[in-house]
């Protein structure tokens, strides 16, 4: 089926051999691609087209919507919901930074220091996925409960004073504050940061560390000049895998937050499913897509690596 006719002159080519045989043979890749690509075109690309058209429609649910090229919807949506947009970027950005900060030591530990515990630790990183993420997110309601041990400790140590001053918490509560939402986001996307970090750390030749030590580099210098730069591909894909889903998430804001912590995902969800204002919802969704794609593109350019997958 997928077997190819190798040209007799070139031995074991790394690239797939060229087809010179019949037209039928040459059509094979297209037949292989057709069903899957068709599926993606109809159920991924076409919906975006429909959404684009919906975003410039006007009308009402009773009388039906009509395309009137009403681009003002975009402007209205932005002016009304820019706080939720900024909040989404802020929360997603903070969660991504926290994921990097928390995930890096664990990825480093698994890659270089775990020895025979490596596989066990890797399983423990993936293990949370085996329980539905909604159930695990609800567990944070118990962990962060008012007057619970976690909140008590944070309060006594004075962490809550700092976070209150930053506007992340209110009084001696953690639940229903931005801190709770960011905690949930960080928790939910942490494995997506750890795994790519681990993959790129694991590829580093340990002799490079020895070489740096032989050349009188302190451990901190070795990390700064050797380890961290070499782990950049992992950092880039980890941050993307965290930031992109976090920016559109509404589960954490809904379950752990309050009306003051609504993110843009919450707005899109309620506009689509409850308010049924389709044009505004479609416009918001497009703006989110544009913001994320632009941020990601700029970030990849800056970070200077093109290979993601």
């Amino acid at each position: 089926m997928t077997v190819t006719e190798a040209p007799p002159t070139s031995p074991a080519p790394a690239r797939p051999p060229v087809h010179r045989t019949s037209v039928r043979r040459r059509l094979v890749p297209y037949w292989l691609l057709l069903p899957g690509v068709l599926w993606l075109v109809v159920f991924f690309v076409l919906p975006l087209v429909y959404q684009a058209s919906t975003s410039v429609q006007t009308g009402s649910l009773e009388q039906g919507f009509e395309v009137t090229w009403h681009f003002a919807t975009y402007w209205d949506a932005l002016t009304e919901y820019y706080p939720q947009f900024l909040r989404s970027l802020l929360y997603a950005g903070t969660a991504t930074a926290l994921c990097l900060l928390l995930g890096y030591p664990l990825a480093y530990l698994i890659a270089f220091k775990a020895g025979r515990w490596r596989n066990l630790l890797l399983v423990l990183v993936i293990a949370p996925f085996f329980t539905s993420f909604l159930i695990r997110t609800l567990a944070w309601k118990t962990i962060l409960a008012d007057g619970g041990p976690v909140v008590e400790v944070l309060n006594t140590v004075g962490v809550l004073d700092v976070t209150s001053w930053l506007g992340m918490t209110a009084g001696d509560r953690v639940l229903a504050t931005p801190l709770a939402v960011v905690t949930g986001l960080t928790y939910n996307f942490l494995p997506f940061m750890i795994l790519p970090l681990y993959t790129s750390l694991e590829r580093i030749d340990p002799r490079l560390h020895e070489a740096a030590g032989d050349l009188y580099a302190k451990p901190s210098t070795t990390f700064r000049k050797v380890t961290f730069p070499l782990s950049m591909p992992g950092v880039v894909s980890g941050t993307l895998l965290t930031f992109i889903p976090a920016s559109g998430d509404y589960v954490n804001a809904q379950l752990l937050g309050s009306t003051d912590t609504r993110m843009i995902g919450n707005v899109i969800q309620s506009q689509f499913l409850r308010v049924l204002d389709y044009p505004t919802a479609a416009a918001l969704s497009f703006i989110l897509m544009a913001v994320v794609l632009i941020t990601v593109t700029v970030y990849i350019r800056r970070a200077g690596t093109e290979d993601l997958v």
């Binding site: 797939p16 691609l33 919906p47 949370p128 689509f272 989110l288 997958v309």
Partner: protein, 265 residues
């Protein structure tokens, strides 16, 4: 102090691990709770009631069965379509390659809510009835890209000389594919299929938009967060966790044994 500094990475790493595992422990512990009200957030007393009657809550086990069904079909669909694309991308040169690659990459680089919302506008415009079929279509769509990536990685690392050898030994195209190519690609296909199953089974956002009144297991949990969380949710979460850990551990033992048996040669 010296000790603390030397082991800083280990301590920080283990703390992160604790942060990752803590909710699972809470879910497990609270599956033995007997809550006072409708919500299972505060500890009251030990009880095995929920474990003895896991389907005791209306619609819970129905939603679980539905989720398993959808995940199974979506996995089959996404794996077949995705593996075909992966083979075509690795094994053939053709003109629209770049476009196809971006088409595969984009669904993974987009916030889920955008895909969910745009799919809903499609279904609304076509007048499709939301339910089992729309969920299945959506899940197959977003699982497809992940299967392509997993299978592609495996097929790319495959030595093309193996297929040439098969042909030199007079195997026909179909025979070569079935006896050589497919067995070598199988681990990649299996990995892709497992990923697709996990993604579909646990998907919430896309399902939330495109399910209508159909309730999958994540939808049931979401609804219960408003109406009251039954302990049975924790029981099912814990059971799934235990089952998966058993499968992983079993797989590990089998691989170890195989490796040991292979060693003497």
């Amino acid at each position: 102090m010296q000790w603390l500094r030397r082991n800083l990475v280990v301590i920080a790493g283990l703390l992160t691990l604790a942060y990752l595992i803590l909710p699972n422990i809470i879910v497990m512990v609270f599956s033995f709770n007997k809550p006072a009200g409708r919500f299972n957030y505060a500890w009251r007393e030990f009880s095995t009631d929920a474990w003895r009657d896991p389907c005791g809550v209306a619609d819970l086990c129905g939603s679980l069965t539905l989720s398993l069904q959808i995940a199974l079909w979506a996995t089959i669909g996404a794996t077949v379509l995705g593996a075909m694309i992966a083979f075509a991308l690795v094994r053939y040169r053709f003109r629209v390659r770049g476009t196809i690659n971006s088409l595969i990459f984009l669904p993974m680089a987009m916030p889920e809510v955008v895909m969910a919302a745009s799919l809903l506008t499609l279904f609304l415009n076509l007048g499709a009835e939301l339910g089992f079929w729309t969920i299945l279509i959506a899940h197959t769509m977003f699982c497809l890209s992940f299967v392509v990536v997993a299978v592609k990685a495996r097929v790319m690392s495959m030595d093309p000389r193996l297929e040439e050898a098969a042909r030199d030994l007079y195997a026909g195209p179909v025979q070569t594919f079935l006896r050589v190519t497919l067995p070598i690609a199988a681990p990649g296909i299996a990995a892709g299929a497992m990923l697709a199953f996990a993604l579909s089974f646990d998907d919430f956002i896309i399902t939330n938009f495109n399910s209508g009144n159909t309730v999958t297991f994540p939808m049931f949990v979401w609804g219960s967060a408003q109406r009251g969380t039954p302990v049975q949710i924790n029981v099912i979460g814990t059971a799934m966790f235990a089952l998966a850990v058993l499968i992983v551990a079993g797989g590990q033992i089998v691989t170890n044994r195989r490796r040991k048996r292979a060693l003497p040669q």
